[in-house]
Amino acid sequence: MEPILKFDRVSKHYPNGVHALKEVSLEVTEGEFISVIGPSGSGKSTLLRAINRLIPISGGTVWLDGQTVSNQHGKGLREQRRKVGMIFQNYNLVYSLSVLQNVLHGRLGYMNGFQGVFGLYREKDKREALDLLKELGLEQFSYNRASDLSGGQKQRVGIARAIMQNPKLLLCDEPIASLDPSSAKTIMELLRDMTQKRNIACIVNLHQLDVALKYSTRIIGLSKGEIVFDGTPAQLNDEMIEKIYGTSRENLMIGGNDDDKADTADCA
């Protein structure tokens, strides 16, 4: 199957001398749910933003849906970007606008200049947005200001905005880092179910190893700008974890798994 996304020896160095990505190569195919894990500063965020060129890369090529992204500008770039939905840790909504308006922002990439500038959305798009909000259980908030929502609800609006783009690929930059455990679970389940249903490939940056193990079909481990692990959750053993985080498993807060309970029992 033709890959949705292909990185060919992609490098990024920042002007301050940091090498965020070092000749990274990878392929992503339809329907994959990939978690990218690694310590802070390992290049997770850069990797994600290199895909839709929010950060221009310094070397190599990024292929998206059979076309390059890395050398695109203007209209061509915008047409590539709208194929990629994005979700952020801090939701990044426009809080003075209604929930529905925020969801409809996902259509801006498809609208011509005049319609886009004045926010003249098509009735079809509006209906789709309302249906999406219903699916996410936010129907009754459609006409509330986005600032009135709770964190988990804001993130659901973020998901709706990304899905409105009708994307081939969904990028999530630490989507649950600011959420309470219960909202985090809802969001992860929504991400998995909605991408599965629509056959959208999904790449999630995560700090929570247990979440990565539970939801992903594939895990990529980054360390100092290099892929040090790329495989299924089952293949991610203690040795690999140590390689990714540069420290042994005991020194990591992995979260709610059975080992911890056993440890506590031993202590007692």
């Binding site: 709208r82 939905g85 990044n92 990439g109």
Partner: protein, 281 residues
């Protein structure tokens, strides 16, 4: 040994305090800012030079102080005989202030968009726009109105045009700042949807900056109104013309009414915008 030395130290510390009762504990920073004495000295020298240059006759000024009370007493004798003239010119002044505010709001949003560094991400564009309007702002409003009077002739048009120049320059700078305060992440999120820069501006940056724009507009309407009152005196029509005319004709009663109305309107504008601002935030 240690104890002993401590004791002697204590005694040494104690002795001067007992001997000199006036010695005070210092409270200021040890490192003194050397700029402050230089600044104060310069101000003192400049003040003396100005007084000397202007040859102000303090004696004459003091002898005229009773006149101040007299003039205000005359002003307080409100004369409502010319009410229709006062009222129509007040309406004219308000209209000039409102019109110039409205035009400047539209122009300010457009130029503010060009001047903000995060909207189009073309550094040259924002630098050029910013510096052009800095130049316009450096010239005060009455000068612009006088220039417009020369170009457009006497009347309210010159007032509107002159006020617009300065107000637009002011709005361009303040709106650009408000736009730049919108978090980069919000803009990034819209970029990721494939929206173009102008759509990002109208759909995200502008709505997010709207409360600040309203606040700036309210503040500026107040300023424009009071400036408009002054501008009448240079010939741009409105209540200022009535005030200066009646003062020159010793018609203090009419001038008093006009001044009181200016005060009332300015106060009302402020109160109204305080309310609007509360609703917006």
């Amino acid at each position: 040994m240690n104890l002993n030395s401590n004791e002697t130290a204590f005694e040494i510390n104690l002795k001067p305090a007992v001997a000199k009762r006036t010695a005070r504990i210092p409270v200021k920073c040890k490192q003194k800012n050397r700029f402050i004495p230089v600044f104060l000295g310069t101000v003192a020298v400049l003040t003396i030079l100005s007084l000397w240059y202007l040859e102000i006759d303090w004696g004459k000024m003091a002898s005229r102080i009773p006149d101040v009370g007299e003039v205000f007493w005359d002003l307080a004798h409100l004369d409502f005989a010319n009410m229709d003239l006062v009222f129509s010119s007040l309406v004219e002044t308000i209209s000039i202030a409102v019109l110039s505010l409205l035009y400047s709001l539209i122009l300010g949003i457009i130029f503010g968009m060009l001047a903000a560094k995060n909207v189009f991400r073309i550094p040259v564009l924002s630098v050029v726009t910013q510096s052009f309007f800095t130049f316009l702002r450096a010239v005060p409003t009455p000068v612009w109105v006088l220039l417009m009077l020369v170009c457009l002739g006497m009347g309210p048009e010159a007032g509107v045009a002159g006020l617009c120049v300065h107000t637009t320059a002011f709005f361009t700078k303040s709106f650009a700042q408000s736009f730049e305060n919108i978090p980069d992440e919000t803009i990034e999120a819209l970029e990721a949807t494939g929206a173009n820069r102008l759509s990002i501006f109208t759909n995200a940056i502008l709505p997010a900056a709207l409360p600040q724009i309203v606040a700036w507009a309210g503040m500026r309407l107040e300023t424009n109104f009071s400036e408009c009152a002054i501008l009448g005196m240079v010939g741009a029509g409105g209540i200022g013309y009535v005030i200066s005319n009646s003062l020159q004709g010793y018609d203090y009663g009419t001038a008093g009414v006009a001044i009181l109305l200016v005060f009332l309107v300015a106060y009302c504008i402020e109160r109204i915008f305080v309310r609007i601002k509360k609703k917006f935030s």
